[in-house]
């Protein structure tokens, strides 16, 4: 399948200019990519959507049966190497499947959980024997998988796990004791990736089968949403796990846990994009049908502004996800069947920052879109008969699992500061250059097409460097404890990545007219969000007259990225979608 030519290092976009040819865009998808998306969409519309009620009632055998059906179509094996019974497709295909399957409530969660975190530890870190034994069955759906990391006392602080593993006397088995909670797919899973500490110290991953003595599954949790996905506790009481079921090395479980989550987050971004597009469609269908004051509510300006902003955010989310797919593929494509544990972990971690952004932006775009979609339904949105009600409840978990959005945000400036240190970048020079640019308007020196948007992007980048630099000079290495500042730096980095993805995609596209409207609308909105992050940060980091002066200047600079045609442009965008009745760009 299409190979990605350009390798872009994780976090590069915060320091350098990235060119359009080095990013992958949805328009770069091949015919095979489109066919794969078509198959995944048909699977959902034929096999799952007619049975949403069964999902809502928590019919887990039904979910398991449908996953096996998905296995027959190859939808569980896209990321498993060919020699182990999968298809070994690229990361774009992984994202495409994730997106197409994302609009099916608990089914989507069950499916993604299986193909990502429950299978990938073996794919990337398993021994040859483990791969031969488990991967073909996980790819076909004969085995369904679960992933057990969270414990009552170890949520975001995953490495605080209390589950223990002790080697038995005959040195044939590890004996596991402990309880994992909120485990997706638990009620029907055949394999469980379990993290436990060997001798209470060395964090290690194990493959546990459901029939291993000592493993038991707790009752189903009663959840707010995604009710079609099974969620139980998993307990191990003197559970006997053969030593050959250790994944990777003893004491290196954290490398697996955290790196696999990178791909999980990347995938979750796509799944939430699929769900968000579906909610957007519900909003369009309802707002064009529903009449008040003798007009469809889609004809009112207030609706149009909502529709245009939803569309612009969908466009940005889509742009940054496909771009990240290209980056991840360029780093990881070669490592599918490598046995070099460290190299694999490094490649998986290369785009940790970008993957965190995928998760945050995907889940927050979904929350935003589904909330507005429900609002546009009026009272009907509160009634269970309308699918938007279920979509609204299903959305909420996405900001929590696979690392809360707060944990993911903290990771972003953390990764940035590490990069600066690792690349021996001279922080002072970088910051001074950014300061100089702000004072003298260097960021405005952008030419060619979309130059106004590129100016905005250059301004955002300068602001990020100045804020990060000031924070570093003020707090030193203890900046990592300044969470209030870190969250805002993360918001800035997210704004930069999404804006840049939008601009590069629009620049690269051949059909540009409509995309350009979305791009301008997105940048206008983002300029406000940048202000929202930068002003409180600078207010905290600066003092006296410099503080007052800078706050005023920055507000003035950001205000330039609003354009006189804003209302008219958004109306046009909205009219386009009310006609199409679905998201497309």
């Amino acid at each position: 399948m299409s190979s990605v030519k350009h390798f872009v290092q994780g976090g590069d976009f915060l320091i350098e200019e990235i060119t359009a040819e080095s990013v992958f865009t949805p328009e770069d998808c091949t015919d095979e990519h489109r066919m794969i998306a078509g198959t995944a969409r048909q699977f959902i519309s034929r096999e799952i959507h007619p049975y949403m009620k069964r999902l809502e009632e928590g019919d887990f055998p039904f979910v398991a049966e449908k996953m096996k059906k998905a296995g027959e179509l190859g939808l569980l094996g896209h990321s498993v190497p060919e020699k182990y019974g999968g298809l070994g497709l690229d990361k774009m295909s992984k994202g495409i499947v994730g997106e197409a399957l994302g609009n099916a409530s608990g089914y989507s969660v069950a499916h993604s959980n299986h193909t990502c975190i429950a299978t990938l530890p073996i794919t990337y870190f398993g021994t040859k024997q483990q791969k031969e034994k488990y991967l073909p069955k996980l790819a076909s759906g004969e085995y369904l998988g679960a992933y057990c990391l969270t414990e009552p006392e170890a949520g975001s602080d995953a490495l605080a796990a209390q589950t223990t593993a002790v080697l038995n006397e005959s040195e044939t088995h590890y004996i596991l004791n402990g309880t994992k909670i909120y485990i997706t797919n638990a009620s029907f899973a055949d394999t469980f990736i379990v993290y436990a500490k060997v001798d209470s110290r060395h964090f290690t991953a194990f493959i546990v089968e459901k029939d291993f003595p000592g493993l038991s599954i707790g009752p189903e949790e009663s959840k707010m949403g995604i009710k079609g996905s099974s969620t139980c506790s998993v307990s191990m009481e003197d559970c006997e796990v053969p030593i050959e079921n250790v994944i990777g090395e003893i004491g290196k479980g954290h490398l697996i846990a955290l790196n696999v989550l990178n791909l999980g987050r990347f995938n979750l971004g796509f799944a939430t994009l699929g769900a968000a597009k579906y909610s957007f469609q519900l909003a369009l269908e309802h707002s064009t049908e529903r009449k008040q004051f003798k007009k469809s509510i889609s004809e009112f300006g207030a609706t149009k502004e909502k529709v245009a902003q939803m569309a612009a955010r969908l466009y940005a989310t889509e742009s940054l996800l496909y771009r990240t797919a290209g980056h991840v593929e360029s780093a990881l494509g070669e490592h599918e069947d490598s046995s070099d544990f460290k190299a694999v972990a490094k490649a998986m971690n290369e785009h940790a920052l970008e993957s965190a952004i995928c998760k945050i932006v995907g889940s927050e775009t979904l929350d935003y879109v589904v909330d507005e979609a429900l609002q546009l339904h009026g009272g009907a949105g509160f009634i269970k008969e309308y699918p938007v009600e279920m979509a609204y409840r299903d959305s909420r978990i996405n900001r929590i699992f696979e690392g809360t959005n707060e944990i993911n945000r903290l990771l972003i400036p953390g990764a940035f500061f590490k990069k600066v240190a690792k690349d021996f970048l001279d922080t002072r020079t970088i910051v001074e250059r950014a300061q100089h640019s702000l004072h003298n308007g260097v960021f405005k020196k952008q030419t060619g097409e979309l130059s106004e948007l590129k100016q905005a992007l250059a301004l955002f980048k300068d602001l990020h460097l100045v804020c990060a630099g000031l924070a570093f000079f003020k707090y030193g290495t203890s900046v990592k404890n300044e969470q209030e500042t870190l969250m805002k730096l993360a918001d800035l980095a997210i704004a930069i990545y999404s804006t840049e993805s939008v601009i590069l995609r629009t620049e690269k596209a051949s059909e540009r007219n409509h995309k350009q409207k979305l791009a301008y609308t997105y940048v206008e909105q983002t300029a406000l969000e940048v202000q929202h992050a930068v002003i409180p940060m600078l207010s905290e980091l600066l003092v006296g007259e410099e503080r007052t002066k800078t706050l005023g200047q920055v507000s003035l600079l950001l205000a330039a990225y609003h354009w006189p045609d804003s209302v008219e442009r958004k109306r046009k965008i909205a009219d386009f979608y009310s006609e199409q009745k679905r998201y497309q760009s």
């Binding site: 015919d31 095979e32 066919m35 794969i36 198959t39 034929r46 027959e72 190859g74």
Partner: protein, 257 residues
């Protein structure tokens, strides 16, 4: 068994039709395999799986039609042929299509040819029967079931809602109706395999045809959209009065009684 499928690329059923300068607007339109041809592809694959042989899918069109052929290959067809008329033909009609297909089948042994009952775009339903006539083959249209035993085919066909049972012999051309089967969608392994399956491209001079030979016999004078649907009328009052009013309206307004 040599199994052939005639396939047409049509607008997606979700696509809105707009007319501009007397032509149907096709900018940015999404295309699919004509849904009735999908039944034909599915049935062809089933026949091959039961009786052995090869399924060849044929279409006439431009390069873009390759996508629909790849989809048929991904579903399980063995090979595909694109008769590319982009450079040679400005316009064509059912005569053109049949003439080209007749030439195509001239040096090929077909045991059974499956086509859609109609194409959802122009809906003429002519190509199958006319081709059968030219090839001197038996022809059964709108089939909803087919079983083949040796040279004999037992067929059920849809006749305006009733079922007609037909026994006939191969070689045979059938056109497929809804209800025949439920077309599969391509599996991911199928999609990846389709890339490697043979897709032959021909032009009309490869079939020893000149442009004049296939010149359409019909002319399109005008293309227009159907009139917009008018608002309906809801009758009110007692049932007896409603019936009387309905009868009178059917007589005076609709003038159908």
């Amino acid at each position: 068994m040599n199994i052939f499928v005639l396939l047409k690329r049509t607008f997606d059923t979700e696509e809105k039709i707009a007319i501009n300068n007397g032509r149907i607007e096709d900018d940015g339109a999404e295309y699919i395999i004509n849904p009735y041809d999908e039944y034909a592809v599915e049935e062809a694959i089933n026949i091959r799986d039961e009786h052995g042989g090869e399924v060849t899918v044929v279409t006439i069109g431009d390069e873009d039609a390759e996508k629909q052929l790849r989809t048929a290959l991904a579903m399980g067809a063995d090979q595909a042929v694109l008769i590319n008329t982009e450079d040679d033909l400005e316009e064509g009609d059912q005569f053109t299509t049949v003439k080209i297909l007749e030439a195509f089948f001239d040096d090929r042994e077909a045991d059974i040819i499956l086509a859609g009952n109609v194409a959802i775009d122009e809906a003429s339903g002519q190509v199958g029967p006319r081709l059968a006539e030219r090839l001197n083959m038996s022809c059964v249209t709108t089939i909803t079931s087919i079983t083949i035993d040796g040279d004999t085919a037992n067929i059920e066909r849809d006749v305006e809602g009733d079922v007609e049972k037909v026994e006939t012999s191969l070689p045979l051309l059938v056109t497929c109706q809804q209800g025949l089967n439920e077309p599969r969608y391509p599996s991911l392994p199928g999609i990846m395999k389709a890339k490697k399956k043979p897709l032959e491209e021909l032009e009309i001079d490869d079939l020893d045809l000149e442009e004049d030979d296939v010149e359409p016999k019909t002319k399109t004078i005008e293309i227009f959209l159907p009139p917009e649907k008018q608002a309906g009328k809801v009758l009110e009052g007692e049932m007896d009065d409603q019936v009387k009013e309905l009868v009178s309206l059917l007589k005076t307004e609709a003038k159908v009684l």
